[in-house]
């Protein structure tokens, strides 16, 4: 029992996580806006805000009127509202806030596992570095932020199971933001299963949390079909999309991912054995991270607390073997006061929002055919490059696209036809005729553009990065 008047000893401080979050959030404002998928997300968000949630396609001429996914509706609305409020700076501020929140949560989870701030921060750095590759202006970043929050909750629930009661609420929001909620739900269920085995007193709670978390995933406009988009990504990643490709260690992100995996492997070998909880939190996420490049940050985020807690012991084991006397610094634990925490909240928010306001607001449109916009014929019939579909949806609304980064509405005939045409398949002319194509907006080095130039098809406009052809004899 505490004695009256005994000083309250704080065990945890948010100062360091907030400081890290503020720094990286502010740094993120240096990255320009311009992700290819941002534009169609914004267009869908605007459509939802102004006309209500659309369940069929209204942006393309190839799948017009066919069903589209609504699984990211809330994320799209939030991004659009950011844009509506502050223009492109609103997007930058929102992205910076999400980055700051993600980094704060990652460092907090590491600090919860390792009371020495410097060690926790160092252990979190690989995860922060890997999230850099997901600092995009898309609902995906919100999903990553939710995942970092979930890991923090699950780590905290080891000692305080009642923290798990926040999980269903998190999953409810997440399921309306991004399809990565499925990973969160699976990890939460596995962690609850481990707690169910270890803590008989928490069995009713864990069962309730899992059941409620599953139930709330149905509280989305997509209903049960929310699960099809999530499983589609996982079971059959569309490898043609770069970020859906297999993690490649010869790329910078892949190297960092491999570093994290190897760090966990070596730490597991050389530090003392750990609880089943770490296995439950790490292994499923590792498998998912190995499925596609875009999933690699998840494992880095999940492993940061483990590395924070155990990597020092592994480093000590290696240092103990060396013939030279290596003395690692002690890095004593420090817990700043509540006042410092509050001051840090303010400083972080001011730093992030302030940096967002002063950032270069205009998106980087250099990869896009900006010069072709005025020459685009209105109405259906333009076959565009896949990478430019979102851009055209936002900047050329009078010219519906043939294909864009939404991908799933096009799976089937439209995607097959697109691939046949741009890769100059044997039936490319038939496809163009059957589809009623009137113009081609392509990268000059694509086989179709090369062929169209060979055949002297009329060029409306061109530059070193795009070329707009008219299809002869089109309707």
């Amino acid at each position: 029992m505490d004695r009256p008047g005994a000083p309250v000893t704080r065990k945890f401080s948010w100062s360091l996580p907030l400081l890290a979050g503020g720094i990286f959030g502010a740094l993120s404002t240096f990255a320009t806006v311009g992700d290819p998928d941002l534009f169609w997300h914004l267009a869908q968000g605007r459509q939802t805000v102004t006309q209500g949630l659309a369940r069929v396609d209204a942006f393309s001429w190839s799948v017009n009127g066919l069903p589209v996914l609504t699984d990211q509706w809330l994320g799209q609305v939030i991004w659009y509202e950011g844009y509506a409020a502050l223009g492109w700076n609103g997007i930058i501020v929102l992205r910076a806030l999400l980055v700051a929140a993600t980094v704060t949560l990652i460092v907090a989870a590491a600090l919860m596992a390792q009371r020495r701030p410097i060690v926790a921060l160092i252990a979190a750095l690989p995860a922060i570095t890997l999230t850099r590759f997901a600092w995009t202006e898309r609902p995906q970043l919100m999903g990553l932020c939710c995942f970092a929050g979930l890991i923090l909750l699950l780590r905290a629930s080891s000692e305080r199971p009642r923290v798990l009661m926040a999980v269903p609420a998190l999953i409810l929001v997440w399921a309306n933001l991004h399809a990565s909620f499925a990973l969160g739900l699976a990890v939460a269920a596995i962690a609850c299963g481990e707690l169910w085995l270890r803590r008989p007193d928490a069995r009713r709670l864990t069962l309730g949390v899992v059941a409620l978390s599953i139930a709330v995933t149905l509280l989305t406009p997509s209903g049960i079909s929310i699960w099809t988009s999530a499983s589609g990504h996982f079971l059959s990643p569309p490898r043609v999309i770069q970020e859906e490709g297999v993690p490649d260690v010869t790329q910078p992100y892949g190297f960092v991912f491999a570093f994290v995996v190897l760090a966990v492997l070596v730490t597991a070998q050389l530090s003392r054995p750990t609880m089943l909880r770490d296995v439950a939190l790490l292994l499923p996420v590792l498998f998912v991270s190995m499925t596609a490049a875009r999933h690699t940050p998840f494992f880095a985020v999940a492993s940061a607390p483990y590395l924070a807690a155990h990597a020092p012991a592994a480093i000590g084991a290696i240092a103990g073997r060396l013939p030279i006397n290596v003395r690692l610094p002690a890095f004593p634990p420090r817990v700043p006061s509540l006042r410092v925490d509050l001051a840090m909240v303010l400083i972080a928010i001011v730093a992030v929002v302030g940096a967002g306001f002063f950032a270069r607001g205009e998106p980087n449109l250099s990869p896009y055919p900006i010069g072709a916009l005025s020459s685009l014929p209105p109405g259906p019939g333009v076959v565009n490059d896949y990478d430019w579909g979102g851009f055209l949806i936002w900047y050329a609304p009078a010219t519906p696209v043939f294909i864009d980064g939404r991908l799933f509405p096009y799976t089937g005939d439209a995607l097959r036809d697109y691939e046949t045409v741009v890769s100059l398949g044997p039936t490319w002319r038939d496809v163009l005729a059957r589809r009623g194509a009137r113009a081609l907006l392509l990268k000059p080095a694509s086989p179709l553009a090369v062929r169209a130039r060979d055949l002297r098809w009329p060029i409306v406009t061109e530059s070193s990065s795009y070329v707009l052809f008219l299809v002869p004899n089109s309707r």
Binding site: L262, V264, V266, Q269, L283, G425, P426, P444
Partner: protein, 464 residues
């Protein structure tokens, strides 16, 4: 005190299980026909070396890099396959392949059985590791590395601290390996890891292994072109040619990739719960990184992992009673399988599986003598089966880097300047898949269809 020598019966009993699995693998592997396109040019090079009693140091097969210097580092592996082909045709190749795979299986079983791991844990590990290696079961010198790697690991793991006469096996092993295949570099790295670990953990008692490692490095220079092989291996590691399937990163949604992922998860998961050792960390971490670089490297991590997983899983998953076949049953079963394996060699396929190749186009191609632009994957097949025509490109790929390969890709992908490239190389005939953009464009431009496959797998087009 020196250990008492084991009796023949005890040795046979201990080897019964590895022998049985190795025999089963032999029976499976010897029944598979050759399919790999690189087999053909490896055979062609080996045949040339045997015929001329000299190393083939220049390209003689292509029209694009004819006369260019070409590495001879795998000469011994090539003549091993070519010699078996000369002796027994494609069946000879199948027997060499099956023998090497059986050797690999034998040592992988021994690795998995370390520490007395029961069969119901070690057998699934072995089967999974061999299935991961399946993508490299091609009739090429790399099969020698597939067999020698687990053998080397088994030897190193069984070494006592300090000097052992078994250390003397290593330098001769590397003299042979360095002439067989570039994978000897991986072997050298493994020996170096063991040597460093031995010095770190046992001090001076690790010196004999360290000195042996230095000797192993020295003997690898007894190769007609030692640095060329090392250079090629370095290039494969740092810049894997991603256009080749085997050099793509591991894809865990494919069967082999899923098994590899299972190994990774098992290694990390069991180490989290039980811990590991410095040696395991030093060995598996670099092998895992290597596996991440390319699918063809996954097997090395899996083979090495079996050596540690078996014992650790035995501790994690305890059986109420370990069931092992008694020796009087085990030995006869192994002997029966060995005899069956020997007999199965008689049923080795006498022809390769040519379904992936334009076999029916050969007659048409023989009627012309101009420059032929061929599909990359069919280059080796043409080198072997159509020696009178030079290929444009083939699976050797290294001589084609830095020019011809880029031009080839620009040509078949119909990139800007493709017509100039056709003229530059004076291409008069193409043998391509019909859905290649170049094939489509040339047909539209009036090139004559000289021959085509009814199933749409290939087409021969000639200049109009």
């Amino acid at each position: 005190m020196a250990a008492a020598p084991r009796s023949l019966g005890a040795t046979l009993s201990a080897s019964a299980y590895p022998l049985a699995v190795a025999s089963a693998v032999f029976i499976i592997a010897v029944g598979l026909p050759s399919t790999d396109s690189d087999t053909y040019w490896q055979l062609a090079m080996g045949r040339w070396i045997l015929d001329h009693h000299a190393f083939l140091r220049q390209d003689i097969f292509s029209s694009t890099v004819a006369g260019a210097h070409f590495g001879v580092g795998e000469w011994l592996g090539q003549i091993a396959f070519a010699g078996s082909f000369a002796a027994a045709g494609w069946a000879g190749v199948a027997v060499v392949r099956a023998t090497l795979l059986a050797l690999a299986a034998f040592f992988v079983v021994r690795l998995a059985r370390r520490g007395g791991t029961p069969w119901w844990i070690s057998l699934p590990l072995v089967v999974a590791a061999l299935l991961v290696s399946k993508i490299t079961w091609t009739d090429r010198p790399q099969l020698f590395t597939l067999a020698l790697f687990p053998a080397l690991l088994e030897l190193l793991l069984s070494l006592p601290a300090g000097f052992s006469r078994r250390l003397l096996i290593l330098p001769p092993l590397f003299i042979v390996w360095t002439n067989l295949h570039g994978g000897y570099l991986l072997g050298l790295a493994v020996v170096a890891i063991f040597a460093v670990q031995a010095v770190l953990t046992t001090g001076r008692r690790g010196l004999p292994l360290a000195l042996t490692a230095i000797a192993c490095v020295a003997v690898t220079f007894l190769n007609p072109a030692p640095l060329e092989l090392a250079g090629a291996a370095r290039e494969d590691f740092l810049n894997p040619p991603r256009f080749l399937t085997e050099f793509l990163p591991p894809d865990v949604v494919t069967p082999a990739g899923a098994l590899f992922a299972a190994f990774v998860l098992l290694v990390i998961g069991s180490a989290l719960l039980r811990g590991g050792s410095l040696l395991e960390a030093m060995l598996l971490a670099p092998l895992l990184y290597l596996a991440f670089t390319a699918q063809r490297q996954m097997l090395f991590f899996c083979f090495a992992a079996t050596a540690f997983l078996g014992a650790r899983l035995s501790g994690l998953v305890r059986s109420p009673r370990d069931f092992e076949l008694p020796v009087p049953v085990r030995l006869p079963v192994a002997l029966v399988l060995v005899i069956a394996a020997l007999a199965s060699a008689l049923a080795a396929p006498t022809r390769p599986d040519e379904r992936a190749y334009p076999a029916a186009a050969l007659d048409t191609l023989r009627q012309d003598s101009g420059i032929l632009l061929n599909e990359y994957d069919w280059g080796g097949y043409l080198i072997f089966n159509l020696p009178e025509r030079s290929v444009f490109i083939d699976g050797r790929y290294v001589p084609y880097l830095g020019g011809v390969l880029a031009d080839y890709r620009a040509l078949v992908g119909l990139r800007p300047g493709w017509r100039d490239l056709l003229d530059k190389y004076k291409v008069s005939e193409v043998l391509l898949r019909p859905d290649r953009p170049l094939a489509v464009a040339l047909r539209e431009d009036g090139w004559r269809v000289r021959s085509s496959d009814a199933d749409g797998r290939w087409i021969v087009l000639g200049r109009p």
